[in-house]
Symmetry: C2
């Protein structure tokens, strides 16, 4: 039978599994944006799909795990952008600017859905999924490399990475509150702060 010979990967099993998973994630994203993460229930999410309540648990163990999957996806999409910023940069300055710019662009895109305020869309717990940790390590590597090459002073790289992430998060959220968000200005601010700040941070050993 030459009826249906398309779709992407393999058997129907695989395809519907991917489709269901994607449907749940899409529904969750919408529900979190519209009613806020805390207020949302697994039932709210599954009701937005055509699936039965029990099916949800074939894919995720809880609402938290759905959020982690969303966060993980986000981190997975963001990581190559960060990597690219590092590889394309001709100087440490350029790297920092590129990295912050990439992040700020990313969160503007990622919060494009209409709905509740940004703060309420997120869970009440820090999500440290593998991909999120990978992003931290990418940041850390970039900074380590710069220090090793003498492009940046020898400072506590762990603290520095944490500081960069903290700056990105807070300045990023502040930027989102302004309208329209000025990505370039925020990136210039953050990069300028860190770049010069490096000189002021205590040398390590």
């Amino acid at each position: 039978m030459s009826e249906a010979a398309l779709a992407e990967p393999a058997g129907k099993r695989e395809r519907t599994k991917l489709a269901n998973r994607a449907a749940i994630l899409a529904a969750a994203r919408a529900v979190f944006a519209q009613m806020g993460y805390e207020a949302a229930s697994v039932r709210d999410i599954i009701r937005r799909t055509e699936l039965a309540s029990g099916t949800f648990y074939n894919y995720f163990r809880s609402k938290e795990e759905v959020f982690e999957a969303l966060a993980d996806d986000g981190a997975r999409r963001f990581k190559p952008l960060l990597r690219a910023a590092r590889e394309n940069a001709k100087s440490f300055t350029e790297y920092l600017k590129g990295a912050f710019h990439a992040y700020f662009s990313f969160i503007v895109e990622d919060n494009a859905l209409e709905g509740r305020p940004i703060e309420e869309r997120r869970p009440h717990v820090r999500v440290d999924t593998p991909e999120m940790i990978a992003v931290y390590q990418e940041v850390r590597q970039g900074l380590d490399a710069a220090i090793a090459k003498g492009m940046a002073p020898k400072v506590d790289a762990d603290y520095l990475a944490c500081a960069c992430i903290g700056i990105a998060q807070e300045v990023g959220t502040a930027m989102l509150r302004r309208s329209p968000p000025d990505i370039a200005a925020a990136a210039a601010f953050a990069a300028g702060l860190v770049l010069k700040g490096l000189e002021g941070a205590p040398r390590k050993d």
Copy 2:
């Protein structure tokens, strides 16, 4: 009768109300530390007290509101320390160092309870209680004042305050993960970064 002529404020009504509220807050603090914020339920909290479940709702509307009260208390205790750091400082450098040092000392104290990892004890959303906002404003005022007096360059004070808070949060958490936490080192790092970084941040107008 001269039986009991003590306690603090007024009638018995007032006293037990304060005691109950305090009991709930103490129980909540312990429960959050031991089982994590997410996993905790209102029932878990109230079971730790001698009160009935309904009584909880005479004092708080939800678990979230209890957390807010705890955060608010923390902010209320911290604010004067921050203020003192500003007033006692003879220079902008001193102010920054003092402020970061105060914050890092504060969180070390505040997380002294045994239990689950720091990250799980709290919600990750910004809890923007009045007192928390007041802390942001105190930070903001300190920076505004320094800029006005020419002790710091004219930069976007909102972004700068956000950046300082982000640095404090992330570097603070990183510090707590190390044992023993070196408050002075963390404060020196954060203050050094911001102080010098200020020179690199874009001037505003």
